[in-house]
Symmetry: C2
Subunit: 416 residues, 2 copies
């Protein structure tokens, strides 16, 4: 199945909104074994949208639209798509009742009759009810082309795709497509490919593909089979093979991120956690606390952007900092120990280094020390993380979470 | 001039990479008065790229491509575009010499002859030299259609667009297009539009447009004139009118963000700054320290994700926290005062509240108190910031920076 994602919204063309839907849906479609060959974005303009649909009809078997399903005059995706495929819009009473009830409950938002426009959908379609907002989506087939329409806000579009479009597409395939994501930290994409290439090239079902993320590699194993159990059985040996080949660098299968893994492991063990951040300036704490439930394990910590605060908040010996330098093994170790003690946590991580662009005249930009302390020991990684400020900071945070997860998984904490 | 942005790269279609180039270039083209009507992304596939170019040629006056200019076999944008417009590629010796010198300097990256592919560009083109990487871009015109080709990595594509494509497009227009961005915090987009709509509708040159960002509004004033001085003279009264209409809510013109404004103002005044973060978990510090030069003003602070740490690191009276609650005016005030004292900074901000999804049984999710303390006074804003965790946290950080900038600009710190 060859797919075009057609995003509708003038805000995309003004550069005001980054089109994250196209990337998110592409990733989900890839997991389903659907080939996404085209992304198109057009504005809220009926003429240009009509032309874009004509182009898409001529080349794709599946068109997934985002945006333009709302109640205002510039929401025209349904009208244009229905017209392009020779269908009328019809009122869906159950969606209409849902909208009336929604507005009754959300009394602060005034109900206007145009809101009922959202309950009009192309005739003979499968309705995708919207549990995350008001505008429903839908799917239909006409002349060999399948159309799926989803709302534009990413926090409606992506969950609705998972909940409604994924089962719809799976049912079309007549077979189960199942995939697992293997997450790897500490080995580069080219090294992963070098080790696995020969086997990847031989594989047809399941398939194995690699994707680079910031400082990470993700491998996706995808199997097609008549049943889910059969697809699972086909994936299992491939997952095992990758784990055997890459060892400790595999931090999880189907986990969201290093920090999400750490949060889960800390909760399981009933352990608490603290941070002492210099070059990351709060990023490690911010990434952990972006996750719901962080408060169960994260107690807090210190952002010690200058030496005086390292000494003050974390009770680190000033003379030691002067002697060893703020960017040093010893300071990273003292920060982790100090944060653990100051916050009365079971474990603490620390990060100190040079994110650039300015250096300290001693170390090259990108020099970073990341520490981990428990009640007895402290471990420090010395790293060179390049020269791009945002990347240096993000990688330093990744290393902190990687040390923490290795500790919690009972693995050696130092790499190589 | 009607433009299509054509992004080439399989990584976009796999969902592995979010297409930030399309948004960034769209914003810059809008500033130049160019109408971007289509975004298209295709993979590294010559057949589909050729078809996409044919579609673009049929509807756009300007095609801007990103990606596919590198040295490997799947970098095919130049070959396909040149073929579509009936041009040959020719070797540009000055770019070839640059590449040889670049590889001599970056000895760790091995030079292979295929790297010289990058010095081949369509005949009779304007070369855009790449100061941020190796692959040059270019521009040419054929049959009334202009083509601009840029490399794919955003840290090459966007600066090259600014440095090379902006002057090229300006020179085509035969007139100067100049714009200013007015940044607004604390007034919603619809309220801004209500106050300015009548005047916006009357305006033709300069134009005034509004754009919503997370918790912010941006207004763009764009003037076209024969000279830059003339365009500046035309913009000035519109900027003044918006400032007069929106008052203190305008936090700056042509500034990058609230935190960048704060960093500049703190540096000007030689003042230092601290943070005490609860629900934001380090986000305020992380946003400030994402900016180069933050170390000149930011000393650090505490992430106090539990009450014990609020009491411990910031010397806040535990009984007071128990009595008033962690989410309270008094706790926010004590956190700001405590961080200022603990870190010996001139100013401190604090944030405490409920980001959700769980509440505390007392306040609704989204209840946030944001504080600011100097040596004498403390100010606290009580806010209701909705129910989406990431948005609540981002808005809380915005409010902290807004209070700080108002303090530094000598404005009333409390809103309304």
């Amino acid at each position: 199945m060859n797919c075009e994602i057609l995003c509708v919204g003038t805000e995309l063309l003004l550069g005001n909104t980054v089109n994250t839907n196209a990337a998110a849906l592409s990733g989900l479609l890839a997991e389903l074994g659907v080939n996404v060959y085209w992304h198109t974005a057009v504005g809220d303009n009926p003429g240009r949208l009509k032309e874009a649909v004509a182009v898409a009809k001529g080349r794709a078997d599946l068109i997934v639209t985002t945006g333009g399903l709302g109640p205002t005059y510039d929401d025209l995706t349904k009208n244009v798509l229905a017209a392009c495929f020779g269908r009328k819009l019809e009122y869906h009473p159950e969606e209409g009742e849902f909208l009336k009830a929604w507005f009754a409950k959300n009394a602060s938002i005034r109900f206007t009759p145009n809101n009922l426009q959202q309950a009009y959908l192309p005739e003979r379609c499968t309705v995708f009810h919207n549990d995350w907002g008001t505008a429903p989506g839908c799917a239909f087939e006409e002349g060999g082309v399948r159309v799926i329409m989803l709302p534009g806000p990413p926090n409606e579009c992506v969950p609705m795709f998972r909940a409604c479009a994924v089962p719809y597409i799976r049912s079309l395939a007549g077979e189960v497509i199942l995939s697992h994501q293997i997450r790897v930290f500490g080995v580069g994409e080219s090294a992963v490919e070098d080790r696995l290439r020969a086997r990847m090239e031989q594989m047809q079902n399941p398939t194995l593909a690699t994707y680079a993320k910031v400082g990470e590699v993700m491998l996706r194993v995808t199997a097609k089979a008549p049943t889910e159990a059969e697809a699972e059985r086909m994936c299992a040996p491939v997952v095992d093979m990758v784990k055997a080949e890459l060892g400790d660098a595999v931090y999880g299968v189907d986990v969201e991120s290093l920090e999400a893994l750490c949060l889960g492991l800390l909760r399981e063990r009933g352990l608490t956690f603290a941070t002492a951040e210099s070059l990351t300036g709060g990023l490690i704490g911010a990434r952990l606390t972006a996750l719901p439930g962080a408060s169960a394990v994260y107690k807090g910590g210190a952002v010690t952007y200058c030496n005086e605060v390292k000494a003050g908040l974390l009770a680190i010996d000033r003379d030691m900092i002067e002697a060893e330098g703020a960017v040093s093994y010893e300071t990273a170790a003292a920060m982790a120990r100090g944060a653990r003690a100051a916050v009365h946590a079971d474990l603490a991580v620390s990060a100190t280094g040079l994110a650039g662009p300015d250096g300290d005249g001693v170390h090259p930009v990108g020099t970073v020390f990341v520490g981990l302390a428990d009640g007895e020991n402290v471990w420090v990684r010395e790293l060179r993380l390049g020269t791009r400020r945002e990347r240096v900071r993000a990688l330093a945070a990744n290393h902190a979470f990687d040390m923490l997860r290795r500790y919690l998984q009972g693995l050696p904490i130092m790499m190589e």
